[in-house]
Symmetry: C2
Amino acid sequence: MIEPTDPEKKRSSRRRFLAGAAGLAVAGATGAARADEKNLPPNVAGWSKQLGEGVASHPYGAPSKFEKDVVRRDVQWLTASRESSVSFTPLHELDGIITPNGLCFERHHSGIAEIDPNDYRLMIHGLVDKPLTFTLEDLKRLPRVNRIYFLECAANSGMEWRGAQLNGCQYTHGMVHCVQYTGVPLKLLLEQAGLKPNATWLMAEGGDAAAMNRSIPMAKALDDCLVAYRMNGEMLRPEQGYPVRLVVPGWEGNVWVKWLRRIKLGDQPWYTREETAKYTDLLENGKARKFTFEMDAKSVITSPSPQAPLKRKGFTVISGLAWSGRGKIKRVDVSLDGGRNWRTARIDGPVFDRACVRFYAEFDWNGAELLLQSRAIDETGYVQPSKAELRKIRGVNSIYHNNGIQTWALRASGEVENVEVG
Amino acid sequence: MIEPTDPEKKRSSRRRFLAGAAGLAVAGATGAARADEKNLPPNVAGWSKQLGEGVASHPYGAPSKFEKDVVRRDVQWLTASRESSVSFTPLHELDGIITPNGLCFERHHSGIAEIDPNDYRLMIHGLVDKPLTFTLEDLKRLPRVNRIYFLECAANSGMEWRGAQLNGCQYTHGMVHCVQYTGVPLKLLLEQAGLKPNATWLMAEGGDAAAMNRSIPMAKALDDCLVAYRMNGEMLRPEQGYPVRLVVPGWEGNVWVKWLRRIKLGDQPWYTREETAKYTDLLENGKARKFTFEMDAKSVITSPSPQAPLKRKGFTVISGLAWSGRGKIKRVDVSLDGGRNWRTARIDGPVFDRACVRFYAEFDWNGAELLLQSRAIDETGYVQPSKAELRKIRGVNSIYHNNGIQTWALRASGEVENVEVG
């Protein structure tokens, strides 16, 4: 429960009660109308009087037609072609921590490779005792694990380095999703091939026309990487690397190689295009940070937000997501006044290592203009910085690893804007 | 790691190693082929040489065309019409614990009500101080929680009461799914309306043409029920009650009223059609158990299974699901010999209260015929019974609440059949 610092607010009388076990407080007007027992809901006139569609009308189901605007969206001017572009998760239309597969953001370098699972092969070679090739069936017969992880593109919020630009959390923060992966521990495959003593790095390569490839140090590969073929129970979606992708928990999305076709073991990084010309962070002094794999702790308020304005005054819920590439989220704070005062938000639902967590902050909006912010604190004690703090250290040349605190200005009309604060 | 009792098996030499942190063992031939570094995977010829589809080709994504057979299926002869029928979750094609929304089983009594969310109303009336009507927007402004729960139809496995009948876990056990719900605690809504002291039961009614309704005791309503509007992050699917359904954790699916339009408070159960003529358990002596809300602990091996045969000998993984309406699953056992010997399976992934858990048992198949079984043990100490034990107590008249141990016969060909054992 947030107590806004606005003195107007404090004077307003309010009714409260606790929702027992859930421990949730509701204050002020919640909007429910007084009903007369004879005054039944209007639906008696319509859908209650005729048979609906039967089962298996949609053997693979789809959302309601009334949800047709809940979709991934792209920004046409962002890249030269749609085959090398990005579509964004509609974070403002979601809740909880699981992203449905159909709404997980995409980022491609040569479009979606269409791979026949019967022809799929994964080769492991280089500094190994015995180079191996796995079919998809081979992988499916090996021991597997299930893990829920966030995946964030390093360029998420990249446009915001030079100031508030995109009006909606779908665009400012929508290059993140969180699903349950099923896959084989990479360590198990590498041990089957047998690592040479000097194998200290690996190169993972995709089967797309870009042959997207990245270098990964052996310590990470042997720690927690997965060769995954399922997301949220079913096979990976085509745009997420069907039939097989690399899962690299907590690290930037670019290294989670999709359509994984080859893992080569070596004794040094490959310095591929995607880890030199791209996915490095150019600092103010002209030097670039390289191999900035880990995603820093971050959060964003998904509602209210520019695409999810408030429709009226009264009791409502601030909702948002937080995540950290370094472990579990320990706490999320919310501010209504642009970061001068902070209150602890309520985290609800499971808190997994390197997964999104959902936070809420209930409050009674009296129509005053507010500056909404959230900041994440992870279990290492790291606190999500302000954009100003971040720019002081990193400058504004980079397009990657912007985890600065986002500010939404809530206007008296209920509309919300992406703004910068001191 | 399961050690089959077959002596043939014990003689076979095998290579083993532990996959480090994951602690997973791989024995025998895993099928991976020795690769030559120059012999690249065959995909170099195809998808690696042309641009794929760009982003937002599918603003709401869909599975790969190669997964077109992974769908819900119905059984045409089961009911008089498809508007009052069931479609089954393809459990044999899934892994982990989350069911993707498009594959969650359906059970309708008058088809899928198509409800315009702007016209949606939920009325709370009867023994309350102040009858209330909520719009969907009202509900979305209230405090909410996120919970992962299984939902099982009381009739799941119902055909098996009189012997092994349906050849595939999609049909024998596919009336279960497990998703993350987002919703308002029912207790919070009831407290807003104000319960009269004699309000001891409620009746929940759906907005479909069946006006499907069930009685629920107040203790449950105030404990953990949710008025949910989201599943796996997005709005409920039409066939799951869009825009609002009741979530009644651990209890039979029939009381999770879909298209929820009305909650009436009373001082006794309503004895509706669905809790008298249906959803009661007729015993051998002609008496019927009524209000058998809680779902007993249950499990099933989803692979190998009749729809997911083994394609060759060697190392493979037995995979399955377990759940209990009484709390967390504590342990799952697996037998290869029809229940004579049992080994503890490996539970992998999160274990939530009244959610599905995923279990695995790795083994090296030498081609011998096996009788595969699994049994779930929940945190109350309840052990899933054999079908024989269950029939001894309940007879074979019922079609509900069959949680007996399922047996799959693995043939030498790798095919799997639904069979009964002593």
